[in-house]
């Protein structure tokens, strides 16, 4: 071809055979270069695909986790509502009535004078060996305190007796 710009684009193939036709014969060097480029390209593409698939998987996992989170939020809200309904005033009243409870009408206060100024309960002595702790009896209450306690119980008993 005589290089007429009308017939051929300005792309020239370096290797031509003797008749001016393009030749696709590659030298060993070119083939090696081509294979190297192919390998490099494959590596880059596989790396890209690997990363892309990792990202897609991670993204999908995130979406699933978010969906899971939303479900838990929904379950949590539902449980909270169930608890609130169980604790509602009407529900508590109904259940209390079923159990035979009635609303208290009053509180009767028993006025109790303080006992004599001595320790209410003297308890265990401080230095009890550990192995003896189960067997040691508490010290008896003082006589004043015992009297106060008896009086208190007697008052309570008499109050109980006058209840309908």
């Amino acid at each position: 071809v005589s290089g007429d710009p009308v017939y051929w684009p300005k792309i020239r193939i370096r290797s031509t055979d003797g008749e001016g036709q393009p030749s696709w014969g590659f030298s060993g060097k070119n083939l090696g270069l081509f294979l190297l480029l192919l390998l490099l390209g494959s590596l880059i593409v596989s790396f890209y695909l690997n990363q892309a698939s990792h990202m897609a998987t991670a993204g999908l996992e995130v979406v699933h986790l978010i969906e899971q989170r939303e479900r838990w939020r929904q379950d949590n809200a539902d449980l909270r509502k169930q608890v609130a309904e169980m604790q509602s005033l009407s529900n508590i009243r109904r259940r209390a009535e079923l159990l035979g409870f009635v609303e208290r009408e009053g509180i009767e206060h028993l006025f109790i004078a303080s006992p004599a100024l001595e320790p209410l309960y003297q308890g265990m002595p401080d230095s009890i060996p550990v192995e003896d702790k189960d067997t040691v009896e508490p010290r008896p209450m003082s006589s004043g305190l015992a009297r106060w306690w008896e009086e208190l119980i007697a008052r309570f008993d008499s109050w109980m007796n006058i209840q309908p």
Binding site: V6, G59, I66, A77, S88, G106, H109
Partner: protein, 577 residues
């Protein structure tokens, strides 16, 4: 053999034309591509996004409203809308049978909906609770049905139904709020919706390909009230009982801690189930809280304020007497006692006990306009109390110098006529007497929480010292004395201070001949008040008097509060001091 010349003669030009045509064609195509891809890039991308991407909101839950003990009064729950894409359904009858039992719907109706293959989207059920929605989802997975989908939404639930409905207000499904705590604390309660933005199909349903952007929702904050739901229940129950007993039309009860202004209960009758607000809306009733928005003439309860002003200004003391002639002229208006009688020499305590209009007017006229109205304003009348609720009315207080004030107002205002107040203003003013003269700011919310963490806390805010502490205590003792011997107010073991009121209802040209507003404001234990209660019953038919209608309601509430709040009788309290 000689090859013919190629290209042949004449072909050169044709080839040139073809080549030029190709170049022009390529240029035109490149130009068009540039136009569509570069110049129209933005709007075409937006159009594409509009078709391809769906942005579905993920609803945030509105915060809960809880009483002071943490019991939930209002909360959000999720609900679902279930839909189907009939073109993807192979066996509509089988799916209808499965769905019918799960959603409690008619199978035939469902089968008909699911068979509409010409429709892309068919809504099947709305307001489906979570459990049912989960069952439908599980069924879809089990049968490998991809044609079912669901949208999530939120729904407000008022667990105690009518309880405190006016105080709470309500929020609709669209998060529109109407009065009450819901409206006042809307900014705290309202969450921030999240969104799911990703690729969708032709009918806008999400599909799991392409980039997805998820913005998580942020739930609203919880509001903890000063209200105790048990006290609220007691107040509402006793108010309703009182209205039923005495044939009242409506009424209000407020229970407050006088020392802090914390409102423990605020009940008005009639109420409505806040879950069914739309039914109330169709009845045309305005959504207002009568306790803070509706005004009335307080009547004789206002004599507490007049007496407080008289004692604090020093024009009288507890031992003072005046001569009750049965009538007094103020500004050309003759004022008479409620029973038209003259009581002669009368002490200040007797003035309160017998609720004498002439005595109250005598005190106000002796104080003079400036002093009397100064005290009225010190007690917070004519201005809003500042409670954390919307649409509070300041009441109507005409002041000297203003066009509509008349000299006779000085006399009538002294016994609660010609002045309009809200129930909250009235209880707040009497609470000042119970609180050593300090006017408290009423409030209904004690803190805001998020995930159990306290975000904001509200503390009592005293407004001002309306009267001195000594006068307040003296007046309390007088109020206790006035109630001695009132059998329907007797609560054994406890002293109560308070004042009844029977107010006429203004109508054009005067007052209604029969209708009244019966009220009582009282606090207990008188020496160290734990609560103050205002009872107001409108238009009672059985009796017009506050002492007959409102006092029993007060007594029953107070008796139950002594038990509930574990308040020992005076004797026990005094002995243990």
């Amino acid at each position: 053999m000689a090859q013919p010349e190629w290209p042949g003669p004449g072909s050169k030009r044709r080839l040139m034309v073809l080549w030029m045509g190709t170049v022009v064609g390529v240029l035109i195509l490149t130009g068009r591509l540039f136009y569509w891809q570069v110049i129209r890039h933005k709007d075409l991308k937006a159009l594409g996004d509009q078709w391809q991407f769906v942005d579905k909101p993920i609803p945030a839950l509105r915060g809960s409203i809880m009483d002071q003990r943490g019991f939930i009064l209002a909360m959000d729950q999720y609900e679902f809308e279930i839909y189907a894409t009939p073109r993807d359904i192979d066996d509509p009858d089988r799916l209808a049978a499965e769905l019918g039992s799960l959603l409690d719907m008619d199978q035939g109706e469902l089968a008909e909906l699911l068979s509409q293959r010409n429709r892309d989207y068919v809504p099947l059920a709305r307001e489906v609770p979570l459990e049912e929605a989960r069952n439908v989802e599980e069924m879809g997975n089990r049968l490998h049905v991809a044609a079912l989908g669901m949208d999530v939404d939120r729904h407000r639930v008022y667990l105690e139904r009518e309880l405190a409905c006016h105080l709470l207000g309500f929020a609709t499904g669209d998060n529109e709020v109407f009065y009450g705590v819901e409206e006042f604390y809307d900014d705290e309660l309202r969450g921030i919706d999240g969104s799911w933005a990703g690729t969708g199909d032709v009918i806008g349903l999400q599909i799991g390909i392409g980039p997805t952007k998820v913005t998580l929702p942020q739930d609203g904050r919880d509001v903890v009230l000063t209200i105790d739901r048990t006290i609220q229940h007691i107040a509402a129950e006793e108010l309703q009982r009182g209205i039923a007993e005495y044939g009242g039309e409506s009424g209000t009860v407020i229970v407050m801690q006088p020392g802090t202004g914390a409102v423990l209960a605020m009940a008005s009758y009639p109420g409505y189930d806040a879950n069914l607000y739309h039914e109330e809306a169709t009845r045309g009733e305005p959504f207002t809280d009568p306790a803070i928005s509706e005004t009335y003439e307080p009547g004789s309860v206002f004599k507490v304020i007049t007496m407080a002003a008289a004692l604090d200004s020093g024009i009288v003391d507890r031992q003072s007497f005046y001569n009750d002639t049965g009538q007094i002229a103020v500004g050309g208006t003759i004022i008479q006692n409620w029973d038209r009688k003259a009581y002669g020499p009368t002490s200040m305590t007797q003035l309160l006990k017998y609720s004498l209009n002439v005595g109250a007017s005598t005190l106000s006229t002796n104080m003079g306009e400036a002093t009397f109205y100064d005290y009225v304003q010190r007690f917070g009348f004519g201005e809003v109390t500042g409670i954390d609720l919307p649409y509070e009315s300041p009441g109507i207080l005409r002041l000297p110098g203003e066009g509509d004030w008349h000299e006779s107002d000085l006399g009538t205002n002294a016994f609660g006529q010609g002045i309009s107040v809200t129930p909250l203003q009235m209880i707040g003013a009497v609470a000042a007497v119970a609180n050593d003269g300090v006017l408290p700011t009423p409030y209904v919310v004690q803190r805001i929480e998020q995930g159990g963490q306290v975000i904001k806390e509200f503390h009592p805010q005293p407004v001002r010292q309306a009267i001195s502490a000594s006068v307040a205590r003296e007046l309390t003792e007088m109020l206790v004395e006035t109630l001695v011997g009132k059998e329907n107010l007797s609560i054994p073991g406890y002293t109560v201070a308070g004042k009844t009121g029977t107010a006429q209802i203004p109508v054009p040209g005067g007052y209604h001949p029969e209708d009244t507003i019966a009220s009582f404001v009282g606090y207990a234990p008188a020496d160290a008040p734990r609560f103050i209660i205002l009872v107001r019953v409108d238009k009672p038919r059985e009796s017009p008097w506050g002492s007959v209608v409102a006092v029993p309601v007060f007594r029953r509430i107070a008796q139950r509060l002594f038990v509930y709040l574990d308040i020992p009788p005076d004797e026990v309290r005094m002995a243990s001091r």
